[in-house]
């Protein structure tokens, strides 16, 4: 940018420097008196420059930099360029693809430029046409040339897919010829068409010429024409008072001399050589041409230049348009004729001036006037290119209005060859112009190297997918025990430069394990999958995986990692993006996760609080474990939820949580909560474990969803190495769920089946709608989540607005006074009030400064509906439900009678059985009492 600025403003800079020199001379005139004795001192040029720098705060280095840039600014030209974009970026076979050219740094509008498109079909390489598809030889002559590629594209542009079989070429009634001006269609009536090529290596512009000759001067051999400038020098000699000071020349020591040097090259006007300004036109001996010389040398080694011959050039400019053959007719010719044979060759309609219906004449379409876009049916292997001809923004050195006419290639790959130069007098000065005699064929030779593969355009500049991968959580723990409650590590891969959505990308994951983070990793992907710890390792759209860290000793032993702590898991996705052409882009990345591998775990506890009579403050103690229940085969929602506590122990606000790690084999415990140290002092807890350091407490006071990462670092007394354990706690709002206590009399409503991805089908039951038969009681229990808050609750049950007393803690067994019929609903509600006990609230205040107002009560409610159903579901009921359903159909009187008779039968049978079972004793002998026999 700086170079460009300097180049554009070089005249201003030059004039500024000259102005400063003049000002300096005026400001510090050399007084004549200084020539005599002790007159005023004459400042040196260096001193003047320093004064100027100081006065105007000019930094010398910056000026030097600017000057250095100025010196080469002419080599920093910004020549026209063209960029191609494709849509779609991933073309499919046979699909229409559009290539759009974006030319820059042309002075004329883009629709006035000439776009010479050329399409190279697969297998249509340059060379012999033998053995290649017929369509490769598009112009039908010779071998495969660049012209064939041009013709292939030009036919598409000119016809826009029209079938020439339907055209009548016997007549040509349209006037669709077009004359192409050099440098774009706006360059009409310009006779000076100067075409240039930029050498992108040295930054020089080369003028296209057929031939050129420099101006010549009549100097003999060994002499060069030059403009010579002389400078007079005065030597004051010795000041002597005997001489008249008013006539210094009377002093024999006073002398004058002249010094000469070559300051330029003469110009040649007609046959007269001349130099501008106060210089002399001379032929100078080459021996002194590059140095200063004195009067004697001037007199002996130079002589007057008598005549000269002006230079000349053969101006040349070319179009790169397609021809009927490599050496055939050039289109866009001044004749403006595009007759029947031409129309037939291109396939345009000879009776329609605009076969392509794009507003251009047919010949204008052939030469690509304003054809910024080019579309064709893509086939795998196609390559495309375009050369744009137009007038650049770079002015020529010629004394006319011309700017350089140039070509832009898609890859700017066209070296300049056949270089030369000539001198010409322009505006009275001899100007040197660099030239090249490159022909159209030379330019055509550049076409192949500027071909672009559409798959590499736009999206395809990089063949590598940019992949990033992240993993969480940061400090997962592997469970070596059979509980299989290790953390789940998830890794997610993302691609930033894919043209497809993640679901269309192919993912292949590898999970490797090592005892260090740097190397020695072993691939355990297959073992994880077979062990049920990784669902799948590859597949389309598999942008994330979850590894359950349940690697027990038997799993780790083959890798020599049993008991090793920590472990390092490297999760490495390889992602492929496949294109229809068979081309694929691949990207991979990895992330290393540090995994704690120990049988020790952090156990969480509920707490109690009590007053420390010494300090008058409350302290806490661990009570019973929480978040430690695991149901291998959960059958209820609450059990499933409880299992989640293994991953993140759910806690509620205003609760004090105790945490402990088994101290055996460990020492020097250091607890942190979210990175903040968590000391356990006697002011916090009287527990011995607290004093020992293996127990700590923290208060939960966060927003819902906030997580606490608890970490304890300890030193293994066995190995002396550091051991880190972590556990996550999540703040939740307490929840209340209602579950059935006797599923034979009341059950959650069956909603439907859920089919998992692995094909397993799970029944889905409602949590708010339950069902029962008419005569059955409502047996429910309240389940709190987290479960430990249940001890803080007081509960109020209502059914249809009527208060119901619990039959057991947290349970009701309600027999409705009035039975409802199928279709009716019992609205069952429970309202639970949770209030932390006062001791705990005092402890929250005394230890953690949590105000009592913050630990106020919480009310949670749950309402369900119990629907009374009929017996439509007999087939799926249990035997008990079956009989219950049958009985519900019977009239109550029949049922009553049946029960009554059954009871009587049982009674009779019982008595009869007892009566017959008890043996009878032998009758006693009759006794005589007086006259009576008893």
């Amino acid at each position: 940018m700086l170079m460009k600025s300097i180049y554009m403003n070089r005249k201003k800079i030059l004039s500024s420097v000259l102005s400063m020199m003049v000002v300096a001379q005026l400001a510090f005139p050399a007084p004549a008196a200084a020539l005599f004795g002790k007159g005023p001192k004459i400042p040196s040029a260096n001193q003047v420059a320093q004064d100027l720098e100081q006065r105007y705060n000019i930094n010398k280095e910056e000026v030097q930099n600017a000057g250095q840039n100025f010196n080469v600014s002419d080599n920093k030209k910004t020549a026209p360029e063209v960029t191609l974009f494709f849509s779609p970026t991933d073309p499919k076979e046979g699909e229409k693809i559009i290539a759009k050219a974006f030319p820059t740094l042309f002075s004329n509008p883009s629709d006035q430029l000439y776009y010479t498109w050329y399409l190279k079909r697969k297998d249509c390489n340059l060379g012999s046409a033998s053995g290649k598809p017929a369509y490769c030889n598009a112009d039908g002559s010779g071998g495969i040339t660049v012209n064939d590629w041009k013709v292939t594209a030009a036919r598409i542009l000119a016809t826009d897919g029209a079938d020439k079989a339907g055209f009548n070429y016997a007549t040509d009634t349209d006037a669709d010829g077009y004359k192409a001006e050099f440098g774009g269609s706006t360059q009409t009536n310009t006779t000076d068409d100067w075409c240039y090529v930029l050498d992108r290596n040295n930054g020089e512009m080369y003028e296209l010429t057929a031939s050129s000759s420099s101006e010549t001067f009549a100097c003999g051999a060994g002499y060069t024409p030059a403009c010579v400038s002389g400078t007079d020098t005065v030597d004051a000699g010795t000041i002597n008072s005997t001489f008249d000071p008013l006539l210094p020349t009377s002093d024999p020591t006073f002398t004058t001399s002249t010094e000469y040097e070559v300051v330029g090259r003469p110009s040649c006007n007609g046959s007269t050589a001349s130099c501008g300004g106060n210089t002399t036109t001379r032929c100078v001996n080459l021996a002194i041409a590059n140095s200063k010389f004195n009067q004697t040398q001037y007199d002996t080694l130079t002589y007057g230049l008598s005549s000269c011959t002006a230079g000349s050039t053969s101006q040349k400019c070319v179009h790169l348009f397609p021809r009927t053959s490599a050496s055939g007719s050039q289109f866009g010719a001044p004749d403006g004729i595009f007759d029947g044979p031409d129309e037939f060759f291109w396939g345009t309609n000879s009776n329609d001036p605009d076969t392509a219906d794009n507003g251009n004449k047919d010949e204008a379409n052939v030469i690509g006037l304003g054809q910024e876009s080019f579309s064709w049916n893509y086939q795998s292997g196609d390559e495309i290119g375009v050369v744009v001809e137009g007038t650049s923004i770079i002015p020529t050195k010629h004394a006319d209005s011309s700017n350089a006419i140039m070509w832009a290639f898609t890859k700017n790959d066209c070296p300049v060859i056949n270089k030369g130069s000539y001198n010409s007098t322009i505006r009275g000065y001899s100007v040197n112009i660099l030239t090249t005699t490159m022909s159209e064929a030379d330019f055509n030779a550049c076409f192949e190297s500027n071909l672009v593969d559409p798959l590499q355009g736009g999206q395809g500049k990089s063949k590598k997918l940019d992949v990033s991968v992240s993993a969480s959580p940061e400090n997962p723990t592997n469970d070596q025990t059979a509980e299989k409650t290790g953390d789940a590590v998830s890794a997610t891969a993302s691609v930033t430069n894919s043209s497809r959505s993640p679901s269309e990308l192919s993912y292949s994951w590898k999970v490797l394990i090592s005892d260090n983070a740097v190397g020695g990793f072993t691939d355990i992907t297959a073992a994880l999958v077979s062990g049920g710890m990784l669902a799948s390792s590859s597949g389309n759209g598999l942008d994330s995986i979850v590894v359950a860290l349940n690697m027990d000793s038997s799993f780790l032993t083959p890798y020599g990692l049993s008991g090793v702590d920590p472990l390092y898991l490297k999760m490495e996705p390889t992602i492929k993006e496949n294109f229809s052409s068979g081309v694929e882009r691949v990207g991979k990345s990895d992330v290393v996760v540090r995994v704690s591998n120990t049988t020790k775990k952090i156990v969480a506890y509920s707490t109690t609080a009590a007053l420390n009579t010494v300090t008058g403050k409350y302290r806490v103690s661990a009570a019973s474990p929480i978040c430690n229940v695991f149901y291998p085969n959960p059958t209820t929602v609450s059990q499933t939820m409880e299992n989640l506590n293994k991953a993140a122990c759910r806690v509620v606000n205003d609760e004090v949580v105790g945490v402990e790690v088994n101290p055996s084999g460990l020492s020097d415990f250091s607890w942190t909560l979210n990175g903040v140290p968590l000391p356990c002092t006697s002011d916090v807890s009287p527990d011995a474990a607290c004093a020992a350091g293996n127990r700590a407490f923290f208060a939960v006071a966060g927003e819902k969803g906030e997580t606490y990462t608890l970490q304890v670092k300890a030193t293994s007394t066995l190995t002396g190495k550091s051991v880190t354990l972590a556990r996550t706690f999540q703040v939740v709002e307490p929840e209340l769920m209602l579950e059935v206590t006797d599923p034979t009399v009341i059950w959650p409503k069956f909603i439907g089946d859920y089919t998992a991805l692995d094909g397993n089908v799970f029944a889905d039951y409602s949590s708010t709608v339950f069902e029962k038969y008419s005569a059955d009681p409502i047996k429910l229990k309240a389940v709190f989540l987290p479960s430990f808050v249940s001890s803080l609750s007081t509960r109020n049950w209502t059914i249809d607005g009527v208060s119901v007393t619990e039959s057991a803690p947290f349970e009701i067994d309600y027999a409705p006074a009035t039975l409802k019929t199928p279709g009716d609903v019992y609205n069952t509600s429970i309202s639970a009030t949770l209030l932390q006990n006062n001791d705990k609230r005092f402890a929250l205040r005394d230890i953690w400064g949590i105000d009592g107002l913050a630990s106020a009560e919480t009310v949670i409610e749950k309402t369900i509906q119990v629907s009374v159903i009929d017996t439509e579901t007999l087939a799926t009921s249990t035997p008990k439900k079956f009989f219950a359903a049958v009985s519900s159909y019977l009239p109550a009187s029949v049922l009553f009678s049946f029960k009554l008779m059954a009871t009587m039968a049982v009674l009779l049978f019982t008595v009869g059985f007892v009566f017959s079972l008890v043996p009878e004793a032998a009758p006693a002998a009759p006794r005589r009492r007086g006259n009576r026999i008893e």
Binding site: L819, L895, T903, G912, E920, P923
Partner: protein, 217 residues
């Protein structure tokens, strides 16, 4: 194994039936969708009539006359009824005079407002209820089970009836005529060995009591 004399075996067996019948009557679940009065009657028929009859006939293989389903001797039955009913009515009259019995004595409103219905109520409902109690308390308990205890059996069945009332309806002025009638009919069946006369005496007492208190109110 424990062996008992036949008399004791029968005694315990009979007592077991009585006990089971009372428990079954008391604990049998009431279906709220059916009329409670009808259910009570049906339960009474089942446990106080059918069960004893079936027991006597099937288990004990005895004739129904052993339960008291037998006529009395000549005109002695009606004499016994007279001798039992009159003192009972006198006692009730005494209660009625001394206490405000009528304030706690109720009749079904339908029967209280219509004499024919009153008669129908007395014949069907009161008659049926009395029949149940007579069969069970005077027939099964007093005659069949405790018959060998003679006069003590009268008071024993009275005591059992009192306990029964305490667990079921309770003792108040509404049930006092029943208590008096139970004692009176106990003497009648003790004298006549016939449930027919005891039923007549009980029904008479209750009918007169109902009629009296209906008029008195």
């Amino acid at each position: 194994m424990l062996s008992l004399p036949l008399s004791k075996k029968r005694f315990f067996s009979d007592g077991l039936v009585v006990l089971l019948a009372l428990f079954a009557y008391y604990f049998f679940p009431i279906d709220e969708k059916l009329n409670v009065t009808v259910q009570s009657l049906v339960l009474g028929v089942a446990f106080f009539v059918l069960l004893p009859i079936l027991y006597v006939k099937i288990v004990r293989k005895q004739p129904l006359s052993s339960l008291g389903f037998a006529p009395s001797r000549g005109r002695f039955g009606w004499l016994a009824v007279s001798l039992a009913v009159l003192p009972a009515l006198a006692l009730l009259y005494f209660f009625a005079r001394v206490y405000s019995v009528e304030e706690g004595y109720y009749l079904p409103s339908l029967a209280a407002n219509s004499f024919p219905i009153f008669l129908l109520y007395e014949v069907l409902v009161v008659g049926a209820t009395v029949f149940l109690y007579e069969v069970f308390f005077r027939g099964m308990i007093q005659t069949f089970w405790l018959g060998q205890h003679r006069l003590w059996a009268v008071f024993s069945q009275f005591g059992i009836f009192v306990i029964f009332l305490l667990f079921t309806d309770g003792i108040f002025w509404q049930t006092v005529p029943f208590l008096v009638a139970t004692l009176a009919s106990g003497f009648v069946v003790f004298s006549t060995r016939s449930l027919y006369y005891s039923w007549a005496s009980t029904w008479l007492i209750l009918f007169v009591a109902d009629a009296y208190f209906l008029i008195a109110k």
